[in-house]
């Protein structure tokens, strides 16, 4: 049993997804239990595998005992182990949070929701732990198709957002597939480690150049790197609130992880064309950081503002990857972790506010701090972390990014990071002012006080626990950041920890 853990991380949620609609027919309570149990198991296995990779060494799992490069290989090194733990952790919290939203749904809706949700989880976990480029494409499509369907369940406008996301997502996947095709044509292998060994002497070939460009474009589209972010604001705004937190927190980050994995572990970033691609990506990311923040300031809808801020935050991650030195890469990985936790927390809060008040417009949400103290506390921590104030997690990833930029002598990037922090402060302090300081005017009464006692609008416990855990998590990551970096992340970057 224990030796099969790497495979089970992806397979358990997949199996649970297949039986979810059937189970829902018999018991609505059971389907929720099974879903959460499956994700919890995947999370425990991920942590176990991460621990194994840190103490014993990289864990290679051969599917059906077919040794690579012929068979499919799952590889758990500190990088994929920590990503798998992060994905399953956020997935677990959001699954727990989704309960009250689905209370009134029929068994079919409920079963399909959990089925799709588990499919996304399984696809994303598969993407991070696989060691095979084509297998990655299959998992990418599993998670993407389930995401289109689950976004479309958000109502009238969501169907259009989901359809446009489907078109762009398919273009992205086709680019990625073509890119693999070129690399396969010159190296004759699809296994990442095997390709890394063979591709070095072929770097000057134009086919490799085209392949790299296509993979970067494909994953850039999926990760919503700046000029390719068009699908993201609509998809995040109209998706059902209970899943936006998961999609926003984790999906784009997994694509950024793939970008990192392919450019550094397969292609080897020191080489000519990869270095050029990374430099271009760095400048694009810098523009994206500023543009995303400026667009976020212009938004009136709370969720749309968070969506544009995601575009900026993905820019930080890509910027760190493009710097390519130790500090920059650690900054990028730490920011993947931080942003997953912060953005999930913010979207969970946004969903909670919508659930209580039926309102998304920032201007109409006044005086919530007294009514939802714990939710607003978590929101405050997450917002300060997005701005990057010291004890919170957001400060430290930006700090590493700035150090990395100084190390690489990229002064413009330092200015961009500082400028963007100021812009973040503008749009988050506007929200904080509304939620905490502004008095509600007459006639702006809260619309739906669903079952809550009179003056309190605090969320039910099942929704509150994930929000508070994430809020505490942001502080914990901030305080423990040096331990996280020295014990996990420095082993995750190429050539690190030696």
């Amino acid at each position: 049993m224990r030796e099969h853990i790497p495979a089970l991380i992806a397979i358990i949620p997949l199996m649970a997804a297949l039986i979810a609609p059937v189970v829902a027919y018999f018991s609505m309570w059971l389907v929720r239990g099974i879903s959460i149990l499956a994700i919890l198991t995947a999370h425990i296995f991920s942590l176990n595998a991460l621990y194994h990779s840190l103490t014993v060494g990289t864990w290679h799992y051969y599917f059906g005992d077919w040794a690579p490069p012929w068979g499919i290989e799952y590889v758990i090194d500190p990088l994929s182990g920590s990503m798998a733990s992060l994905v399953s952790f956020i997935s677990l919290l959001v699954a727990f949070y989704a309960g009250p939203y689905l209370k009134d749904d029929t068994w079919l809706k409920k079963g399909i929701f959990y089925g799709l949700y588990l499919l996304i989880t399984s696809g994303l976990l598969g993407m991070v732990i696989t060691g095979d480029l084509f297998n990655l494409y299959v998992f990418l499509e599993i998670s993407s198709l389930a995401t289109y369907a689950i976004i479309a369940s958000g109502g009238r406008k969501a169907t259009v957002a989901a359809f446009r996301y489907l078109l762009i997502g398919t273009i992205a996947a086709s680019f990625y597939l073509l890119g693999i095709g070129y690399l396969y044509a010159v190296t004759g292998t699809l296994n990442m480690a095997d390709m890394a060994g063979r591709i070095q002497e072929l770097m000057s070939s134009p086919a490799v150049l085209i392949g790299i460009a296509m993979i970067v474009v494909g994953m850039g589209l999926k990760a919503a790197v700046f000029p390719m972010h068009g699908w993201l604001p609509d998809a995040y705004t109209y998706a059902p609130p209970q899943v936006t937190a998961f999609i926003a927190g984790v999906m784009t980050k997994v694509s950024a992880y793939v970008l990192f994995r392919v450019t550094f572990f397969v292609l080897g970033a020191a080489n000519g064309p990869v270095y050029a691609a990374l430099t271009v990506m760095g400048w694009i990311a810098a523009v994206g950081i500023v543009m995303g923040s400026v667009m976020a300031i212009a938004q009136k809808d709370f969720r749309r503002m968070l969506a544009y801020s995601s575009v900026a935050q993905i820019g930080y991650i890509v910027l760190g990857i493009s710097l390519g030195n130790m500090l920059g890469l650690i900054g990028a990985l730490l920011h993947i972790l931080n942003h997953a936790v912060m953005k999930s927390c913010l979207f969970l809060v946004a969903g909670g506010i919508k659930w209580r008040t039926g309102e998304h417009s920032i201007a109409k949400l006044a005086e919530l701090s007294g009514k939802m103290p714990l939710t607003m506390g978590a929101f405050l921590v997450a917002a300060l972390s997005m701005v990057g104030l010291p004890p919170t997690a957001g400060f430290f990833s930006k700090w590493y990014l700035v150090l990395g930029a100084l190390d690489a002598n990229m002064w413009p990037f330092v200015i961009v990071i500082i400028l963007s922090s100021l812009l973040n402060a503008i749009y988050f302090f506007r929200v904080i002012e509304n939620f905490f300081l502004k008095k509600r005017e007459a006639g702006e009464a809260v619309k739906r006080e669903t079952g809550a006692p009179k003056e309190s609008l605090e969320l039910p416990v099942t929704m509150l626990i994930p929000i508070v855990i994430l809020g505490i998590g942001i502080l914990a990551i901030g305080i423990l950041n040096s331990q996280i970096v020295t014990n996990i992340l420095q082993y995750s970057v190429p050539g690190g920890g030696l």
């Binding site: 084509f134 299959v138 499509e141 198709l145 289109y148 369907a149 479309a152 009238r156 406008k157 169907t159 259009v160 989901a162 359809f163 489907l166 078109l167 398919t170 273009i171 996947a173 086709s174 597939l177 073509l178 095709g181 396969y184 044509a185 699809l190």
Partner: protein, 122 residues
């Protein structure tokens, strides 16, 4: 002469043209059904690209035949196997897209993009 040209570079250029036609259609056409058709053209271009990669002149099926030794006498089956998966993915993407279009048609009574976007603003 013609055969060499075809199997050399021309076929890849044709595939490239097909791929670009697909992307152009997705971006340029207003009708959602036409967008799906363009998406299928793009996916078919990728599939043909892989199949051409597996092609080898003078080689036979990848089944061991007595008397025929050596890898150069058999075509590479892997691209074909990969494309079976890609075809399934393409099929299910089309299925999900059509299901979404049914919902859009129900909500907006329209499948032309500008009209639907106008409907979203209301």
């Amino acid at each position: 002469m013609m055969e060499n040209l075809m199997s050399g570079y021309l076929i890849y250029w044709l595939i490239g043209v097909l791929f670009v036609i697909g992307i152009h259609g997705i971006i340029q056409k207003n009708n959602f059904i036409k967008k799906i058709m363009a998406m299928n053209i793009m996916q078919v271009a990728v599939i043909i690209f892989f199949l051409v990669l597996g092609q080898k002149t003078g080689a036979t099926l990848p089944i061991l035949i007595h008397g025929v030794e050596g890898a150069e006498n058999y075509i590479n089956p892997l691209p074909h196997a990969l494309m079976l998966t890609a075809i399934v993915v393409s099929l299910s993407t089309t299925g999900v897209a059509l299901a979404l279009l049914l919902r859009i048609q129900k909500h907006f009574d329209e499948l032309e993009e500008p009209d639907v976007l106008r409907g979203m603003d209301q």
